[in-house]
């Protein structure tokens, strides 16, 4: 950083880099940073970092991103060149694979109409699976129907089949945590992303299911910290719409003293809305177990401060877990004890309809106008229509239903039951700790 114009350029570039990681920066912050640097000088790297952090970062959660970005952006040129080269190599490999997929995914010599995202999935498939798809295309290209060779009008059908297969693989790779993110082509950006993946903050953005066991203690610590922070929020007054209560005489008189005591303006008591009671209904099917475990950890942290959270789990049947959680029972213990009650399907399939019906019948007291029902589920259930109609019924009994859905929002259209449930609840995607914290922060 030599001349002033160099400084401008570096600062603007650095701010741009921070923006790619979600920091919201306006010109005024960049100006502050500039003035700060003029005051403190550029000789001492530690001080430069402190100035930039003080002026460009506005939230403690952003500090790790800032640190990594600072380290990478102000790294020696040879490091940056190496990262650039690495990123360029990765990009070239990716492009080559995409190009290869264009060559391979053909029907009677014509390229198939498949989106880039799915081509990237194809490129990540194991060799034998790619081979299988290629064989399928070859056979279809030479196929016959009623003794007549297939012509190109069959291409859309073939495309659908290939897209369906690739979609299956996307889900499968995603579940196994083997799906590689596209990554940035920019060396510095990809270096920061890589470093952040190895840090705690990334845990907030990682699919809960994919967090390896060795990171668990760290995650649980993080969860406790988050939930304690939220707990103080829950215990604050919950303010719904500002509807008016009765006339507040004291404030009215005080307000009208300025008019010589003539009652010109009225002041109303703000209607005190009682704090809501939260009812959590967790899905215990096999695909949901990991999420439920994390969310229960989270709720455990909340309930130690803000009591009165009712917790139920369901698979085939509904089971009340409130007391077990309060007793500090471990998740494994709880699952083991509750298993026989919830039927053999525990950790297997889900029947939301039966579970909701049981909740209404056996625990009517928890569903009141004071209750906010939180449902944690991927909405993959048997008997969807029946479940939707029961959900509608529950909706009429409670203040609000918040559905924390572990299926990413962009895939919701592929799950028919989600469409059925959506009219009766506020549905949020919730498969990372970051999602969970944001939802609760916004809603509690």
């Amino acid at each position: 950083m030599g001349t002033a114009s160099d400084l401008d350029r570096h600062l603007v570039e650095f701010a741009q880099l921070l923006r790619t990681f979600g920091l919201r920066l306006s010109a005024s912050e960049i100006l502050d940073a500039m003035q700060g640097l003029m005051l403190v000088g550029f000789e001492d790297k530690g001080r430069v970092e402190a100035v930039l952090q003080a002026t460009l970062v506005k939230d403690a959660n952003q500090i790790p991103w800032f640190r990594e970005a600072f380290r990478a952006y102000f790294a020696p040129p040879e490091h940056k060149q190496a990262w650039e080269a690495e990123a360029a190599k990765r990009a070239a490999e990716r492009n080559a694979k995409l190009e290869q997929s264009r060559q391979e995914l053909r029907f009677q010599g014509r390229e198939l109409d498949i989106p880039e995202e799915q081509r990237a999935i194809y490129a990540q498939l194991p060799e034998e699976e790619q081979e299988r798809l290629r064989k399928f295309l070859e056979r279809s290209s030479e196929g016959m129907k009623l003794g007549v060779p297939l012509d190109q009008s069959f291409q859309p059908m073939v495309e659908r089949a290939v897209r369906g297969s690739l979609d299956y693989w996307r889900r499968k790779l995603d579940e196994e945590g083997a799906l590689l993110p596209p990554g940035s082509d920019d060396g510095v950006t990809s270096e920061v992303e890589k470093a952040m993946r190895e840090r705690e903050i990334q845990l907030l953005a990682r699919d809960l299911k994919q967090i390896p066991p060795e990171d668990w203690p760290q995650v649980i610590k993080l969860i406790r910290r988050l939930s304690q922070r939220l707990a103080s929020q829950v215990s604050r007054r919950y303010r719904a719409a500002r509807r008016r209560g009765g006339v507040d005489m004291r404030r009215t008189l005080r307000q009208n003293l300025r008019y010589g005591g003539v009652l010109v303006e009225r002041r109303y008591k703000s209607r005190h809305t009682s704090r809501p009671r939260f009812v959590l209904l967790c899905d215990m099917s096999a695909s949901m177990l990991k999420y439920t475990e994390f969310v229960l950890q989270f709720v455990y942290g909340l309930s130690s401060v803000a009591g009165g959270i009712e917790i139920f789990a369901f698979a085939d049947h509904v089971v009340r877990l409130t007391e077990k959680i309060h007793k500090g029972q471990s998740f494994a213990q709880m699952v083991e004890e509750a298993m026989p009650q919830a039927g053999n399907q525990w950790g297997g399939g889900t029947n939301m309809a039966i579970s909701l019906a049981e909740l209404i019948k056996e625990y009517p007291h928890v569903l009141s106008k004071r209750s906010v029902l939180l449902i944690l589920s991927d909405a993959q259930t048997l008997d969807g229509e029946q479940a939707a109609s029961l959900l509608e019924r529950v909706r009429r009994q409670v203040r609000e239903i918040l559905w924390l859905n572990t299926v990413p929002a962009k895939r919701w259209r592929e799950v028919p039951t989600i469409e059925m449930f959506k009219p009766y609840c506020q549905m949020y995607e919730c498969y990372t700790l970051g999602h969970l914290t944001n939802i609760l922060k916004e809603r509690l």
Partner: protein
């Protein structure tokens, strides 16, 4: 006020007995806020010395400290200004015939609350807006004009601009997300619990009679509690100092389990936290941890 260099400022901090270290960035960030004449927003867990920063700045700059403790429901009539209605009524009664409206909305009828007082001060003052996260977001919006331009607009009277721009410190425990508008107007500082080294230095300054070896043991033990246990409330620096003083008062030359058991409540203030301590650590283990090789980021150069 004359401009200070960063070195002079760091020196002045040291003279007041406020311990900072390079990694915590407290000195540079505070210096920046003062020199850029921007409010300083300090976040961090309770008990890490956020409020102390305002007190120290007041000492360093010889400026009076005006403190506004925030709470849920705090509004502008208690933070900025209110009209003195009783006095206005009296005036109306006395001069019913010849009274002009402007007469009633003069500065003599204005009750200045802390923030307005700070603006009207002839001398520069330090304003501490403590625990801003406890107020409602509406109040936060009221502060924008004050924080951005150091002025307050009173509809009946006009704009009151700061005679001397005050030094403003806002603190937050992070109970509520603050608005972007507020954050944009401030220089940001996040303070974490001190490192063992820093805490040893703090103990040495505040409880100078305590031998260095004991100061180190105390700081290390508190560090272990903060690091290893998921406590509801982490021991604060003030509590560490209380513990250190207790050690001194009792004439102890070493930490022993019985003493830790007896004085634990100086550090852990809730029954739940005490239970967590005994369930997950216990006095014996705590002292054993002190002997084990130090954890990452806790390197220490002081003698044993």
């Amino acid at each position: 006020m004359s401009r200070m260099t960063l070195e002079e400022f760091e020196h002045a901090l040291e003279e007041t007995g406020y311990i900072t270290e390079r990694q915590d960035k407290i000195a540079v960030t505070t210096f920046l806020a003062v020199q850029l004449e921007k409010p300083l927003l300090v976040t961090g867990p309770p008990g890490v010395g956020k409020t102390e920063i305002a007190k120290i700045l007041s000492q360093v700059f010889g400026a009076p400290l005006i403190r506004l403790q925030c709470y849920e429901g705090l509004d502008e009539t208690r933070a900025l200004y209110e009209w003195n209605y009783q006095r206005q009524l009296l005036k109306i009664q006395m001069q019913r015939e010849s009274l002009q409206e402007e007469d009633l909305f003069a500065s003599s009828y204005l009750l200045g609350r802390p923030l307005l007082q700070a603006l009207q001060n002839e001398k520069r003052s330090v304003i501490l807006i403590d625990e801003i996260d406890k107020t409602d977001s509406e109040f936060e919006a009221f502060l924008f004009e004050f924080l951005g331009e150091f002025q307050v607009t009173i509809p009946e009277m006009g704009t009151v601009t700061a005679k001397e721009r005050p030094i403003v410190i806002l603190t937050s425990n992070g109970e509520r997300e603050l608005s972007d508008g507020l954050k944009r107007r401030c220089v940001f500082l996040h303070v974490e619990a001190p490192s063992v080294d820093k805490e040893v230095r703090i103990i040495r300054v505040k409880v100078p009679e305590l031998p260095e070896r004991l100061a180190y043991q105390v700081a290390r033990a508190v560090g272990v509690l903060r690091e290893k246990l998921a406590l509801h409330k982490m021991p604060s620096i003030a509590e560490t100092l209380d513990w250190a003083k207790a050690l001194l008062v009792m004439g102890k030359t070493d930490l022993d389990p019985a003493w830790v058991d007896a004085t634990l409540t100086l550090l852990l203030k809730s029954q739940e936290d005490v239970e967590i301590f005994y369930r997950e650590l216990g006095a014996e283990r705590l002292l054993w941890e002190l002997k084990s090789p130090q954890g990452e980021g806790q390197r220490h150069g002081h003698g044993k």
